[in-house]
């Protein structure tokens, strides 16, 4: 009986599935119609005992591969840890059936709705609950009186109970069934009376026919005697008198048969209707209604232990292929067991909550709710206690979501919160998961760093992918990414800047930011060559600038200017060089002018004047390398040209 009782749980689940149109049926039917499932369930221990089958019916069902690191169970023990969470949440896996996620979600909705509803302990609720108990007790004899009197009293009380909204007119349905029984009985009685009349009429018709037939026979015998002396005389019959009587007799017999048939079928139909109603109440977990209907049935149909007939389909759906003789007594016992189980479950829940053992309390309350959603102990359970269970459920859901996305910090935070108010939560594997995830992720970040330093791009990507796999929110990953991305950004930016400055021939800007460009363009063969060339150029310019400053410090402005001028002629695009050259030019105007005139004359082909200017420049600054270099060249050129012109 104990095993049978636990089918109630699956019955409840199946009922939810049936009540939910959009709920996919395969999971449900697959569970309910699988022959082996109920049989296996029948051999299972008591439902309150923890189940070790982690794969079965997760209350918060999540795909295991979401937890596995790479789908091969390498997710820092995520699969195992999550299975543990599932086993802790296991509740509905009491008969081996696997409920679909939709069914579980449906249960969660109803259960959470229950947890959020105030306790149904209003005067109206209490009165209704008492009324059901009173009806049940009145039927079993409380208050005394004859059976008929008790049935009538209970029947009247049914309509009184139907006035309450929480009854959902179930008592009225039962009362109507009783009325229907009475009406049918009355009709049957009337038919029985009619049958008696018909029987009398039939006998009378039969006598009439017998009489006519007797007279006819006598006449026939007389005629036969007379015919011995007078052959060939006509034979006379009285069928014309018998035929109407025969017809009446046939009609009477037919009517009698009809009435008897009606009586039999009506009784059978009434029984089956009542049995169906009993089973319906039972399946709906309206156990008091089932017991009341059961009592009515036994009184009305005078059956102590009637086997419930014609409910095979429903029985199979609810109880599977269990070899169970479903009788009114069975239903009565199961209903009482369910009421007792729900009541005890609620008491256990209250005690567990008082001890802060919320996890177990939640499981007990779920069982009690699943069994006796409409029973008074469940409905009157205090809201404050229910809210504690709800808070725990939500925290567990958050924890599972955090584990699902491997948000380790979040999981740790929620775990700490749960542990602060739940004494019986098994946090060992969750803690292990958190610790292992962190270690493995950190290890892979280290691998990525090593790969990064060695320039192994593939290694960096693989190690980072692993690190993310174990702990996506690892701050070290973010730091590493920032570094890598920062480098990538800098490189891109430096490349862009380099190209732009090259186009502008702003080598000074490249030189100023040479360290950034050196780092960014080290791997860029073409740009790096250009960069090195610019560095050489700038090295010359910078050396000239430094030397010019030093010469200027020694008051050798001519030397400084000339040095800058010579460098300027080589690299005229450098703004700093040009600026300093201009600054010194002010101080060496005469020398600068002589050089300028010399160059201008050279450009015009007037070597003689160029020579004069260079000589003048050397007069101004005897150490002038420009003049010293140019003067002999000019003189020699002049001689050569002179020779060409001389015939």
């Amino acid at each position: 009986m104990k095993h049978v009782f636990f089918f109630l749980l699956s019955a409840g689940a199946c009922l939810w599935a049936q009540e939910t149109p959009e709920m996919p049926s395969p999971a449900n039917t697959g569970a309910a119609k699988t022959p082996s499932a109920p049989a296996a369930a029948a051999q299972r221990p008591a439902p309150s005992a923890p189940q070790s089958d982690n794969s079965a019916l997760p209350l918060f069902n999540l795909p295991p591969n979401l937890l596995a690191g790479k789908g091969d169970g390498a997710g820092a023990g995520g699969t195992e840890m999550f299975s543990s969470l599932q086993s802790q949440m296991q509740l509905l896996n009491l008969n081996g059936k696997m409920l679909s996620p939709e069914e579980i979600a449906m249960f969660r909705v109803r259960f959470e709705k229950y947890l959020n509803m105030p306790a149904a302990d209003s005067q109206e609720d209490l009165t209704y609950n008492k009324l059901l108990v009173d009806i049940n007790q009145r039927l079993v004899g409380k208050g005394g009186g004859s059976t008929e009197q008790r049935i009538v009293d209970a029947w009247r009380m049914l309509y009184e109970a139907a006035q309450y909204s929480m009854d959902a007119n179930m008592c009225e349905s039962l009362g109507d069934k009783v009325i229907s029984y009475w009406q049918t009985t009355k009709k049957i009685n009337r038919l029985l009376l009619e049958n008696e009349m018909l029987e009398i009429e039939r006998k009378r018709k039969e006598s009439s026919i017998v009489h006519v037939k007797g007279s006819e026979r006598k006449e026939f015998l007389d005629m036969m005697r007379r015919s011995n002396s007078n052959e060939g005389s006509l034979q006379l019959t009285r069928d014309y008198e018998v035929d109407p009587a025969k017809k009446r007799l046939e009609e009477t017999e037919k009517k009698l048969d009809e009435n008897k048939q009606y009586e039999v079928t009506s009784r059978i139909n009434q029984r089956m209707d009542f049995q169906s109603l009993i089973l319906q109440f039972f399946v709906q977990r309206r156990f008091y209604h089932a017991m009341i209907a059961n009592d009515f049935y036994r009184y009305l149909f005078e059956a102590d232990d009637d086997k419930l007939e014609g409910v095979d389909a429903l029985k199979t759906q609810v109880f599977g292929n269990l070899d169970l003789k479903l009788t009114t007594v069975t239903i009565d016992a199961l209903s009482k067991e369910a009421i007792n189980e729900a009541t005890e479950g609620i008491k256990a829940t209250e005690y567990l909550i008082s001890q802060n053992e919320i996890h177990t309390a939640m499981q007990r309350l779920m069982v009690a709710f699943l069994i006796g959603e409409y029973l008074a102990p469940v409905k009157t359970f205090p809201l404050e206690s229910k809210r504690k269970v709800l808070e725990y459920m939500r925290d567990i859901e958050k924890l599972q979501n955090a584990v699902k996305v491997k948000h380790v910090e979040r999981a740790e935070e929620i775990l700490n919160k749960i542990e602060s108010y739940v004494r019986d939560f098994d946090s060992g594997q969750v803690e292990s998961f958190i610790r292992t995830s962190r270690q493995l992720s950190d290890l892979n970040v280290q691998k990525a760093l090593v790969a990064l330093q060695s320039g192994n791009q593939t290694g960096v990507e693989e190690a980072l992918a692993q690190a993310v796999e174990y702990w996506p929110t690892n701050p070290k990953i973010q730091q590493l990414l920032t570094t890598v991305l920062g480098k990538a950004d800098l490189k891109d930016m430096a490349t862009t800047d380099f190209d732009r400055l090259m186009k502008q021939k702003n080598y000074r800007a490249i030189f100023t930011d040479r360290f950034r460009f050196a780092a960014a363009l080290a791997m860029d063969e073409q740009r790096n060559a250009e960069f090195l060339e610019i560095m050489k150029r700038m090295e010359i310019i910078e050396t000239a600038l430094s030397q010019a400053q030093e010469l200027s410090r020694l008051a050798n402005h001519y030397g400084a200017w000339e040095l800058l001028e010579k460098t300027y002629r080589q690299y005229p695009e450098d703004m700093e060089l040009n600026r300093m050259r201009s600054d010194f030019a002010v101080k060496v105007t005469d020398f600068g002018q002589a050089i300028a005139e010399a160059e201008q004359a050279t450009q015009q082909g007037d070597r003689w004047k160029a020579l004069i200017c260079y000589l003048r420049a050397r007069e101004i600054y005897p150490m002038s390398t420009l003049a010293t270099e140019e003067i002999p060249q000019c003189a020699e050129t002049i001689l050569i040209k002179k020779a060409q012109r001389t015939p």
Partner: protein, 127 residues
Amino acid sequence: MKNEKKTLIIVFGILAATAVVVMGIFVARTTPAGAYDVLPVAQYVKTPRSLGGNTYIVDVRIDSQLAYKGEIGRVIAVRTQDEKVMLPVLVLKGHSAAFDPRVGQPYRFVVEVDEDGELILLETKKL
């Protein structure tokens, strides 16, 4: 008698004066300084070609030799005595045979400014 003496004195005086004038003219014709203008150095340095075709004298001190080609001559640098300006002077081959300058020697050059503004040495006189 007195008139004859006076006449004779006058005649001799005229002859003497004439002789002095003739001698002066002769001397002037045979001496460079006397035959050419002095080179306007500042103008020449500024626009050498503007003085093309002219011949000048200029007192200089030898500074250095800037270039030499045997078949053509040489270019020397001289510093003018008055304005201390360094000038190049082209000494062509034909003239060089009798010209053997040393650094620091003072000379009076008779120079011609050719169409390119070049100073061509014509005559030299040690000072």
